[in-house]
C-alpha cells in the first residue's frame, strides 16, 4: 500500500463543500447509519432500554431524524435490548461477541457467546479477529475461526472487527480485510475497531478497507459492507466518511445495509446539526445530550 498516497487521497475529502440541502440529506443519511453503541462495564438494563428508546425516536419527529440502524450492546444486554425495541422494528440489535474486545478466550467459549447472543435475539454479531494469529502469520487459523463464527451466527449478520490499531500498517489492514472477506457472506461487514484502543477509525484506515471492498467486489461480484467505529464524534467527520464512500464505492454503498457508523456520541451531534440546518441558529450541545456539561 502507498501510505502517502492514501493520506493525500483522504485529505482531499476534507475539502469538499457540502451545504444546505445536500448537507441536510447527508446528516440524515448518517443518522440512519448509526449503530448506537453502549459498551461499558457499568451498562444496566435500564440504561440499555433508554438507549433503545433513543434509537427508535432520536428526536422530535417533526425534525425528521430517521431511526438509527441498530443498537450495539454486550451479549448480556441483548435480551434487554430486544425487549425494549420489540420485535416489529427496523432497528436491529447488534451484539459484540467473541470475548470482545481482546478476543483472548478459547474458541469454544467465543462460539458459545455468539450462539447465546443470537439465541437472545441479536440480529447482528460484531466479532473480533484473532490478532495474535494474524500477526504471527497463522492466517489459516484466523480464517478458520471467522468461518466458525459465520456458522455460529446462523441468520445473523456478521461484522468482523480487524482492530486496525493493532495491525500497525496499511498493508496488514488490507491483507486482513481480504482474509476476512474471503470467508464471510455477502452483506456481512468488515469493521475497523473495537473503540477500546487509543487509535480508532481514521479516514486512512477506512480508505484502505473500502478500497479492499471495491477490489474484492470487482474481482468476485460479492459486496461486503463496511463499518468504521470509534472516534467518530462529530457530524462533520461523519460527512467526510460519507464522501469517502461516495467517491470510492459509489451510491450503492450509501445505505445502512452497506455502511454503518459505530458510535455513541455521534448521533447527538448529527441531531444538533440537523436542527441547526433547519432553524439557521447554532445550537447548544446540552439540548441534545445529557452527558454534556450545561455550561
Amino acid at each position: 500500500m502507498d501510505a502517502i498516497g492514501i493520506e493525500e487521497r483522504v485529505a482531499k475529502y476534507g475539502t469538499r463543500s457540502i451545504k444546505k440541502a445536500a448537507k441536510l440529506r447527508g446528516l440524515k443519511l448518517a443518522a440512519s447509519m448509526v449503530d448506537l453503541t453502549t459498551l461499558e462495564g457499568k451498562d444496566t438494563p435500564g440504561k440499555v432500554a433508554s438507549l433503545c428508546q433513543k434509537a427508535l425516536c432520536p428526536h422530535d419527529p417533526e425534525l425528521g431524524v430517521p431511526q438509527v440502524a441498530a443498537v450495539c450492546v454486550y451479549p448480556a444486554m441483548v435480551k434487554h435490548a430486544r425487549k425494549a425495541l420489540g420485535s416489529d422494528t427496523v432497528v436491529r440489535v447488534a451484539s459484540v461477541a467473541t470475548a470482545f474486545p481482546s478476543g483472548q478466550a478459547p474458541l469454544k467459549t467465543r462460539l458459545a457467546e455468539v450462539k447465546a447472543a443470537v439465541a437472545d435475539g441479536a440480529d447482528e454479531i460484531d466479532m473480533v479477529i484473532n490478532r495474535g494469529a494474524f500477526l504471527s502469520g497463522e492466517f489459516g487459523v484466523m480464517q478458520d475461526e471467522i468461518r466458525a463464527v459465520v456458522e455460529a451466527c446462523g441468520q445473523a449478520t456478521l461484522k468482523v472487527i480487524l482492530e486496525v490499531s493493532e495491525l500497525e500498517t496499511y498493508d496488514n489492514i488490507r491483507a486482513a480485510s481480504f482474509l476476512a472477506m474471503r470467508v464471510i457472506r455477502e452483506g456481512d461487514f468488515i469493521k475497523t475497531s473495537t473503540g477500546k484502543t487509543s487509535l480508532n477509525a481514521t479516514l486512512g484506515n477506512n480508505q484502505v478497507m473500502i478500497e479492499a471492498i471495491r477490489d474484492y467486489y470487482l474481482d468476485t461480484g460479492i459486496s461486503i459492507a463496511m463499518k468504521p467505529a470509534g472516534g467518530i464524534r462529530t457530524a462533520k467527520q461523519a460527512l467526510t466518511f460519507l464522501i469517502a464512500i461516495k467517491e470510492t464505492l459509489g451510491d450503492a454503498w450509501l445505505n445502512h445495509s452497506r455502511y454503518r457508523f459505530g458510535a455513541s456520541a455521534l448521533l447527538n451531534d448529527l441531531i444538533r446539526q440537523i436542527e441547526k440546518e433547519k432553524t439557521g441558529a447554532y445550537q447548544a450541545p446540552y439540548y441534545f445530550s445529557e452527558a454534556t456539561e450545561s455550561y
Binding site: 439557521g280 441558529a281 447554532y282 445550537q283 447548544a284 450541545p285 439540548y287 456539561e293 450545561s294 455550561y295
Partner: protein, 288 residues
C-alpha cells in the same frame, strides 16, 4: 544600514490562540491621519461559532476555580495592561484619541479590572441570601454564572468600554465572546495579547473583530450564548430582542444613541456582576 520595517499582523484572540478569520477576510484599518495601518480580521459567524465552542471548553473550569483565584487572575490582567500602558495608549491615539485622553482611558481600564478583581470573592456575600421562611427549612439563595456571555462593545472607548462590559461577566465565572469596536479594533487586538499573558485560561475571553452587521444576527440567534451585554442601536436592539426571545437569552443592552461616560465610577457596579448570574434557591430541611 537601514532595517526593513517589521510590521505586526493583527490577529484575534480566540481559544487561547491568535488566529485569522476562518474566512481569511480582512478589512483595512487607517490611523487618525488616514494612512493605512494594518489589515484587521473580518470575522464571520463561523468564527463566532468556533469562539463559542472554545468558551464552552474553557468556561466550566474557570467557573470551578476558587473565587479568590479568579480575583488573582483578573488582578494580573490589570498588571499586564499597566506594564504595557504606553503601547496601549499609543493604540488608542491611533484611533484618534489625544495622548492625555488615551493615557487616562488605559489607567481607568486597569482600575476597573482591579475593582472587579476585588468583587470575585465578595459578590456572593452580598447577592446570596438566607431567606426567612415560616417552616422548619433552611432556605438559601446562591448564585451561579450563566455560562457563555456575548459582549457587543461600542464604537467609542474601544478599550475601556470593552473591558467594562466583559470584566463583570468573568468575575463570577462566565466565559465571554466579545465583538470589538469596528472602527477602532486595534486596542482590542492588543488586549488579546495581554489576556494571553494574564494567566486567564485560554478561551475564557475571546475577542473577535469584524462588522457588526454581519455578526449581530448570529449573536442574537446562537442558542449557546446565555446572555448578551453591550451597546446597540435601535435596529440592533430590535433584532437582538427577537433573537433573544427565540433562544431564551438574557439581554442587558445600553443605547448607542445616548452618550455613556465610560470613565465615570458609576459605570462599575456590583449590579453589572449580577446581570450575568443565575440565582438558585434551595430548601433544606432542618430538625424540629
Amino acid at each position: 544600514m537601514s532595517r526593513l520595517p517589521i510590521t505586526k499582523t493583527p490577529k484575534v484572540y480566540v481559544g487561547g490562540a491568535f488566529i485569522r478569520s476562518e474566512s481569511a477576510r480582512v478589512f483595512p484599518l487607517k490611523d487618525a491621519a488616514g494612512d493605512f495601518f494594518a489589515n484587521i480580521p473580518q470575522c464571520t459567524r463561523k468564527d463566532l461559532r468556533n469562539a463559542v465552542e472554545a468558551a464552552a471548553k474553557a468556561g466550566f473550569g474557570w467557573a470551578k476555580r476558587t473565587a479568590y483565584n479568579r480575583g488573582q487572575i483578573i488582578y494580573r490582567l490589570g498588571e499586564m495592561i499597566e506594564a504595557r500602558a504606553g503601547e496601549m495608549a499609543a493604540a488608542l491615539v491611533l484611533g484618534g484619541a489625544s495622548k492625555v485622553a488615551a493615557a487616562r482611558e488605559v489607567s481607568v481600564t486597569v482600575d476597573r479590572l482591579i475593582y472587579y478583581a476585588g468583587w470575585t470573592d465578595k459578590y456572593e456575600q452580598v447577592l446570596g441570601n438566607v431567606n426567612p421562611v415560616a417552616a422548619p427549612y433552611f432556605n438559601f439563595t446562591v448564585t451561579e454564572p450563566m455560562g457563555i456571555v456575548g459582549v457587543l462593545a461600542p464604537e467609542q472607548s474601544p478599550l475601556l468600554a470593552l473591558v467594562s462590559l466583559f470584566a463583570p461577566a468573568i468575575t463570577s465565572g462566565n466565559a465571554v465572546v466579545a465583538l470589538a469596536s469596528t472602527s477602532q479594533p486595534y486596542p482590542a487586538i492588543l488586549l488579546g495579547e495581554m489576556l494571553a499573558t494574564s494567566d486567564l485560561p485560554g478561551g475564557v475571553v475571546n475577542v473577535l473583530t469584524g462588522f457588526r452587521k454581519e455578526m449581530v444576527p448570529t449573536f442574537a440567534a446562537h442558542r449557546h450564548l446565555r446572555a448578551l451585554v453591550g451597546v446597540a442601536n435601535a435596529d440592533e436592539r430590535k433584532a437582538l430582542a427577537l433573537g433573544a426571545a427565540d433562544s431564551m437569552k438574557r439581554l442587558h443592552l445600553l443605547k448607542a444613541e445616548e452618550p455613556i461616560d465610560w470613565l465615570a465610577d458609576s459605570v462599575q457596579s456590583l449590579y453589572a456582576v449580577r446581570d450575568t448570574l443565575e440565582f438558585k434557591t434551595t430548601w433544606h430541611p432542618i430538625g424540629a
